[in-house]
């Protein structure tokens, strides 16, 4: 705080940046949208793709990438997961410290078994999470995310419109980065390196 006060007479912008820096004990030079302190910690009660009940606390020690989607989505969800797989590959062995959490917004069709086959087709570090509709809605609302089921067709098929954001949490479960669909892979790899270097693995 002392340091901040000394620089206050400096340019307003510089002062603002310094103050922002002083508020956090470890400001990371993240490239993507920094949501540190602006989004709640990772917390949920869902079922993983092995059918095991899990909570956000089960992923403490890992850097997590949270993405909402559904398995009957043939285009954007697979593309996003395929791109996250490329990102994980670029992290090499460090990727073991990270998990892709793919949360279904279509729990009626996405059973743990369906989710298991699906996420494993993309990356061994991807986890499929499903659960009851209320638990999923609670998680979605927690991150100001949204989804809505579109009217179905005659053969019973339907689509789900959903948020395209990827939320990244550090090893302590704190929200750190928001990746938009147009974010570059280089920036995501860069930020994941920073987060993987921070905090203790478990």
């Amino acid at each position: 705080m002392k340091l901040c006060r000394a620089f206050l007479p400096a340019l307003l912008l510089a002062a603002g940046l310094l103050l922002a820096g002083c508020q956090h004990d470890e400001p990371l030079p993240l490239r993507l949208t920094n949501i540190s302190g602006h989004m709640p910690d990772l917390d949920f009660k869902l079922t993983d793709d092995l059918g095991k009940p899990v909570t956000g606390a089960d992923y403490r020690g890992k850097v997590t990438l949270l993405y909402f989607g559904y398995t009957h989505c043939p285009d954007v969800c697979p593309l996003t997961l395929a791109q996250l797989h490329v990102v994980m590959q670029r992290l090499g062995s460090l990727a073991d410290g990270a998990r892709i959490l793919f949360v279904s917004v279509d729990p009626a069709r996405d059973t743990p078994a369906v989710m298991h086959a699906y996420v494993n087709a993309f990356d061994p570090r991807a986890v499929g999470l499903t659960g009851d509709a209320r638990a999923i809605e609670a998680l979605s609302k927690r991150y100001r995310s949204a989804f809505s089921r579109e009217p179905g067709s005659a053969n019973g098929n339907y689509e789900v419109t959903h948020s395209s954001a990827i939320y990244v949490f550090d090893r302590d479960g704190r929200a750190r980065v928001l990746a938009t669909p147009s974010a570059s892979q280089d920036d995501l790899v860069h930020d994941l390196h920073l987060l993987l270097d921070t905090g203790a693995p478990r």
Binding site: T71, Y118, S182
Partner: protein, 168 residues
């Protein structure tokens, strides 16, 4: 005698067809691939269509003996939301091209009959609004593939970008 009449008739039909060029005759398909997903989940199919004709063509859909249903779709992202909508047709401009690629236009293949494995070729019949069709082999690719694969590079895809959905 009967077969002679039939072949004459068929020959006449082929000639008649040749008199009016169809959309499919001017279309060349490339980078045709399917992203195979596990089980009976719907799969996305992608293709680049080049039109060397003087008239625009329009893809209205496709069919396949291996899928119960094929739908022409468009993914889009607006206000941070991803959605998928059905489209009636995708125009292939005269002397131009239409690209069906991830996060944009795609064919949604539903209810596979026999399971499709990566590496296999799947025949799709592309249908155009004038009723003409174009049989096109699509290569089946793994779920986490980014494009049609070796020898089918997709220069139109922005390298290193996350899915950028837009109404082309």
């Amino acid at each position: 005698m009967k077969s002679t009449t039939l072949s004459l008739l068929l020959g006449g039909l082929v000639l008649a067809g040749g008199a009016h060029a169809t959309a499919a005759e001017h279309i060349h398909a490339s980078h045709a691939w399917i992203r195979v997903l596990p089980g009976d989940l719907p799969a996305g199919a992608y293709v680049t269509l080049q039109n060397d004709g003087d008239q625009p063509a329009a893809l209205s859909g496709a069919s396949s003996t291996n899928y119960a249903d094929v739908m022409l779709h468009q993914s889009s992202t607006a206000g941070g939301m991803s959605r998928m909508t059905m489209v009636d047709a995708v125009t292939v401009p005269a002397h131009g091209k239409a690209v069906l690629a991830p996060a944009g236009y795609h064919l949604m293949l539903m209810q596979p009959g026999a399971p499709v494995k990566p590496g296999e070729m799947v025949q799709l019949t592309l249908e155009f609004t004038d009723g003409s069709t174009l049989a096109t082999p699509f290569i089946a690719r793994p779920a986490n593939a980014m494009d049609a694969g070796e020898g089918h590079a997709m220069p139109s895809m922005e390298k290193g970008a996350m899915p950028r959905a837009s109404g082309h």
